[in-house]
């Protein structure tokens, strides 16, 4: 697995027949956590040809309540069906009072939050019998009450639960820009042994002219500073499966493959220097 793409149903035929060294696909697990039907069949056909990663967007790892029994049952069923190469979700919370907020919400990084997150992850990993990679979120606000940095929190979480890390380099760039910390320092603080996958994506300026935030939109090509951060990370830790994320304004499959070829070349070049 070198560079992968997010799988879009509209690209099914092209994805199925695509042949490229190291190509793999990632899907949002929740879209396929259903009883059956053509979408699930498309994923099963895809996994016959390519390695597939199940990327969750709804586990709500940083919640006091554990994931629901129905959610876990469906995730387990899907994992058994697909035998994914990688499984992952986000360092965030989504559920509150019966509502699922479809975003990755921030929280104070306390020992208490760490305990909840580690318990929830352990529960899922025990059920699945495999580790989950946890992705760093995009941050837009400075929450008060942190007891540790995000990298310290992630490292502790990996130590307590046995999870790995999915480093979203674009999210590091977005958070660093919005909150005013050094993206380079963040990247340099990630232990190589924990990183199992990398995401790169595009971001956009906030639509509000009075705002200086940048938004993790997944709606633009990967920017040059994000590629530079990416090279900094893999230059130190070596190559990892890398996903080009694109969820809005989705271009033609060929354009995504061209962007993917760039990441693939970087990975192969990195492998040459890490033997």
């Amino acid at each position: 697995m070198t560079a992968g793409l997010g799988f879009k149903l509209q690209h099914f035929a092209e994805a199925l027949t695509a042949r490229a060294d190291g190509l793999w696909f990632e899907v949002h697990a929740e879209n396929y956590m259903v009883d059956g039907g053509p979408r699930l069949a498309a994923l099963m056909a895809l996994r016959e040809r390519h390695a597939v990663s199940l990327h969750g967007v709804g586990l709500s790892i940083v919640s006091a309540d554990p994931p629901s029994a129905d959610y876990l049952r469906r995730l387990q069923m899907l994992a058994e069906r697909v035998s994914p190469a990688i499984m992952s979700d986000h360092l965030a919370w989504q559920k509150w009072g019966g509502t699922h907020h479809s975003d990755f919400l921030p929280f104070p990084r306390t020992r208490e939050a760490l305990g909840f997150a580690a318990d929830n992850l352990s529960r899922v990993q025990d059920l699945l019998g495999r580790p989950i990679l946890v992705e760093n979120p995009s941050l837009y606000m400075d929450v008060s009450g942190h007891e540790m940095s995000e990298t310290e929190f992630l490292i502790e979480l990996a130590f307590l639960s046995g999870c790995g890390l999915l480093v979203d380099v674009n999210n590091v760039f977005v958070s660093a820009s919005n909150l005013g910390f050094s993206a380079d320092d963040y990247i340099d603080a990630l232990p190589a042994a924990l990183v199992g996958e990398i995401h790169v994506a595009g971001h956009s300026p906030d639509g509000d002219p009075n705002s200086s935030l940048i938004i993790d939109s997944h709606g633009a090509p990967v920017s040059d500073p994000v590629w530079r951060l990416y090279e900094r990370l893999v230059g130190r830790i070596g190559a990892r499966p890398t996903l080009i994320e694109r969820d809005t304004d989705i271009p033609a499959f060929a354009d995504l493959m061209a962007e993917r070829a760039h990441a693939h070349a970087l990975i192969r070049a990195t492998e040459g220097t890490h033997v």
Binding site: E30, N31, M33, V34, D35, G36, G37, P38, R39, L40, A41, V57, G58, L59, S60, V62, S63, A64, Y71, W93, Q94, K95, W96, G97, G98, T99, H100, H101, S102, D103, L105, P106, F107, P108, T110, E112, A113, F116, Y140, M141, V143, G145, N178, D206, D208, N210, S211, L213, I215
Partner: protein, 246 residues
């Protein structure tokens, strides 16, 4: 209350009422808006994906306003946004701006049944009338089968809005009550208009009546039973016999 819970309670209430965040903290206000917009946009996009015909009927702009209202009133409670929008038909019945289209709720209901059919279990469908099937046989419906009796021609309108519909199909829809039948043969969801005989036959099977009794009911409703049965088999409406008790 734990620190995390008390933070999440305050954060969730700010997401619901971003106006309550003090104006003295413009950066915080904007960040809450960004989070709120992301979550709302995901819900509204999912609704737009799941209700393409309602969207086509009212236009993008009117649909977007309506979807925002729905997402506010019925935010997702399940991370699986691919099945978001279960109560959209009920919401539309009370949605004043579309008051001149009272049957729009029926179209929403049909589109929801389409989603249910799309994600239903993959049990095998009965593919032939030969073998152990006789007048005493009681057939079960395939898990993807849905029926909707409505006092407007929502199935015909749905069909007329598909990309493959003939030009002028919308204008030719006859305004009358209809039974819509949704099935999923060979992994493709299809919608058809069930005539009274077919609807009677399928309803009888659903109630657990034997094929003989279902045929009598269909005959009384004025249907050609052999034709109806063949059409339902072709549509994958029945469960393969061996799958009934699984």
């Amino acid at each position: 209350m734990s620190d995390l819970l008390s933070f999440q309670r305050r954060f969730a209430s700010a997401l619901e009422n971003p106006g309550l965040v003090p104006a003295a903290h413009p950066t915080l206000r904007r960040a809450i808006r960004v989070h709120r917009n992301t979550a709302m946009k995901a819900a509204q996009d999912a609704l737009a994906d799941n209700y393409p015909v309602v969207r086509a009927l009212v236009g993008e702009e009117a649909f977007a306003a309506c979807a925002a209202g729905y997402a506010e009133a019925n935010p997702p409670c399940d991370p699986r946004l691919c099945i978001y929008g279960r109560q959209f038909d009920a919401f539309l019945s009370g949605y004043v701006p579309f008051g001149s289209l009272p049957w729009l709720a029926g179209m929403a209901r049909l589109e929801w049944l389409h989603i249910e059919a799309l994600v239903a279990a993959d049990n095998r469908a009965l593919s032939s009338t030969s073998g152990q099937i006789g007048v005493d046989t009681r057939l079960s419906l395939h898990p993807a089968v849905r029926m909707l009796a409505y006092d407007a021609p929502v199935a015909s309108l749905w069909l007329a809005h598909q990309p493959w519909a003939a030009a002028g199909a919308i204008e030719r829809v006859e305004w009358q009550p209809e039974v819509a039948l949704v099935t999923r043969p060979a992994h493709k969801v299809i919608v058809m208009v069930a005539d009274p005989g077919m609807a009677a036959f399928l309803s009888a099977c659903e109630r657990g009546e034997s094929l003989g009794d279902a045929a009598r009911t269909a005959d009384e409703a004025g249907g050609d039973v052999a034709q109806i049965f063949a059409a339902l088999i072709a549509a994958g409406a029945f469960l393969k016999l061996e799958w009934r008790n699984r």
